[in-house]
Subunit: 428 residues, 2 copies
């Protein structure tokens, strides 16, 4: 007997699922030990239903979620609506009705995941969401299954395809942020309100989920600081290249002596770092660990077929576990109390771009500010004086977040200096 | 009660296992739902035993494998001896004694895997070997678990760290093959007889195993053609760079209309291909599939800790399945009849480096030879004439293996031409 699936939503990703179920039927059925059937599909209203039917879609479209939730024949509910509500209510109801749930909803899982995971555990049902992080890259299952024997010390990720497309254009073609955004919008990579992508919010959602799988810590979304790419100038990009770096928006989760630190920020990557050649809309997750050392998982971060592939992998896993009789196992079992790092323990090299008056003694004054905070320079470049002002670029040796904050405050409160930008620099 | 493990062999990788079991104890025990204990370790003879004991190793070393195989308390046997015999006999006996087996022995699994896998299935025990392909990269479990929903069409892999280290030196530093080999031997990357690494044999073993996991086809080792790096000259490397390529030793498994093709050969990779920046002793497996599209899995291909991490991941998985009561599942369940591709269906661009007499009409004659086989040129470069001879480099449009063989034969049987090298070129 086929395992019956109820889809919530029939957008881009959802409509990629039938493609895989058909094109790869033999392998999927062999792995599932069951055939899989899309029994019902929830759509918004009668108008959408009519539109889909007249476009030639032959599914049993319904407009009331209860038709799926109260159908005893439907075993697996797949939520592909996105956003928080009504997805959260529907998933909660599905879990309460003891249905297994697959979701690709990173916003929801990052913010309300703990609650939903606990409910699934209580109900003894599966709640899987491989597609929520880095679309087609099977990173969550790899962390949960293959890296169980290893201790992860840091995860660095290019986690947002839209901003990575933009950064690639800004780096390779010298485009401005504004030009890159305009093209990303024209190509449909960026939404009309691009905030979530370009300000690092989307990547921060993914960092929350990676913290759980990589470090066993369920941190709050608010604990992930995020800084976006909108302030990056062609000048920053050019200086980075001159110094041997590529700028990308990078999610960075690491365990320090005092606890975990997670942030998303524009980061100078050495040109020979594996993440530096992850271009366009591709994503990659770079893992540092005590056993493997360095490994990287690379693939498309979004898109219909890649995301549908991860969703169907979750469905197949549920079907197989049902057949094997061990469905209760949580997607991620690694769990420790979440402890946030002391800012003094979170250290990195940093890049500062500063406008100074073009007068004698300014570099000395800058050096004094950094020296007062026990910060030392790795590289210093004075560029482009227009007679009145000069631009000074400084790359420091390792600074803690506390030192960074103190230096930033001093520079910003000093009327002589204008701090254009400061970015994290990954050590070479 | 602890799960007791018998180790066969206590070389480099084996001695990395206690490190992980200790350093990552909490996570491993939580994932296994059991503690893991190394109960007995098989060593060659009394002399090795004495040496290990006096070096401070506190294991129960034994010199007769039966002390492990007949010990009813030992549940898992881990084979890390390498080579075919006595590893094959010991694994066979262990499976017959209904012990679960973990191995990192690619030679053995590539050549006798089918037999051992069938025996494990018959006995209802686990036989896992994640470490056999690309050491620390969890590629086999990823193909078996996460890519079940996807249909793989091609796998390209940098699968041998030794030859990749050498190629990196030859490409980045312009070293000759001989210099690169000498350094690889001095650094302990290459053995005194480097044949397996440099002639593509080691990579071909891995291609056999990847064919099973990626395509469900158990092909014979003899079905994998292999060509090594020993004939690559600094001139080939320089021409490749001039044309925008990097040469690497690449395993290439693809499914064509008529069946599967697997080979290992020096390959021109476009500079922006993700595999082109896999350098030094690192490995990577690049997967093309109908769902995800392109994904890559990158990490160390060998080394004590990376390999031990994969071995311990297998042990943890067995311990957990024992606790969950579903130990029977095969490591790779994807299986189809193995059908080899018709050579006419296996197509690629090719590079030819040919010495011709420096006389009028030679290029025309070359063009005629290619034209007779319906081959067309993509690029042609005439270089370095010494007055008597000129070197001509040709990159063709797609040729089948049949066309390649016919052209090669004609060039080799023509006394005017000397075919220096021909290599596969990955399309840009």
């Amino acid at each position: 007997m086929a395992i019956k699936i109820g889809l919530l939503g029939f957008g881009t990703v959802a409509s990629g699922i039938p493609f895989l179920l058909e094109e790869n039927k033999d392998k999927i059925v062999a792995a599932s030990k069951e055939t899989l059937e899309i029994a019902k599909v929830l759509v918004k209203d009668e108008a959408e239903k009519d539109r889909l039917l007249s476009a030639g879609n032959h599914y049993n479209f319904v407009t009331n979620v209860d038709e799926i939730l109260s159908d005893p024949e439907i075993t697996i509910v797949v939520e592909l609506m996105g956003r928080i509500e009504p997805a959260k209510t529907f998933i909660t109801k599905a879990l309460e009705a003891k249905k297994h749930v697959v979701s690709a909803n990173k916003d929801l899982i990052a913010v309300h995941g703990s609650e939903l995971i606990a409910l699934a555990q209580k109900q003894g049902v599966a709640f899987y969401y491989e597609a929520a992080v880095a679309g087609g890259i099977p990173i969550l299952r790899t962390l949960a299954n293959s890296l169980t024997s290893d201790k992860v010390t840091r995860i660095l990720g290019v986690l947002n395809g839209t901003s990575n497309f933009m950064m690639t254009k800004m780096v390779d073609e010298g485009w401005t942020y504004e030009d890159a955004l305009k093209t990303a919008q024209e190509l449909g990579y960026a939404e009309s309100d691009p905030t979530n992508d370009v300000e690092g919010i989307d990547a921060a959602y993914k960092a929350v989920i990676l913290s759980q799988f990589g470090f066993g810590m369920a941190i709050d979304f608010d604990a992930v600081s995020h800084k976006g790419i909108s302030t990056i100038t062609p000048d920053d990009v050019a200086v980075a290249q001159q110094l041997g770096y590529v700028i990308k928006l990078v999610g960075d989760i690491q365990e320090t002596e005092s606890g975990i630190s997670a942030e998303v920020s524009p980061t100078f990557l050495p040109k020979d770092h594996p993440l530096a050649s992850v271009n366009g809309v591709m994503n990659a997750v770079f893992v540092e660990s005590i056993g493997i050392g360095e490994s990287m998982y690379y693939g498309p971060g979004a898109g219909q077929k890649p995301t549908a592939t991860s969703v169907v992998a979750d469905i197949v896993r549920i079907a197989r576990r049902l057949s094997d009789g061990n469905i209760g196992k949580s997607f991620n079992e690694y769990s420790r109390p979440a402890v946030l790092a002391n800012p003094e323990d979170v250290k990195s090299d940093y890049y500062f771009s500063i406008i100074t008056p073009d007068q004698q003694g300014q570099i000395l004054r800058l050096a004094e500010i950094f020296n007062q905070e026990n910060a030392s320079f790795k590289q210093i470049l004075q560029q482009k004086s227009n007679g009145k002002e000069a631009q000074v670029v400084i790359v420091t040796h390792r600074l803690s977040k506390t030192q960074l904050a103190a230096i930033t405050e001093k520079l910003e409160s000093d009327t002589d200096f204008k701090l254009l930008n400061s970015f994290k620099v990954l050590g070479k």
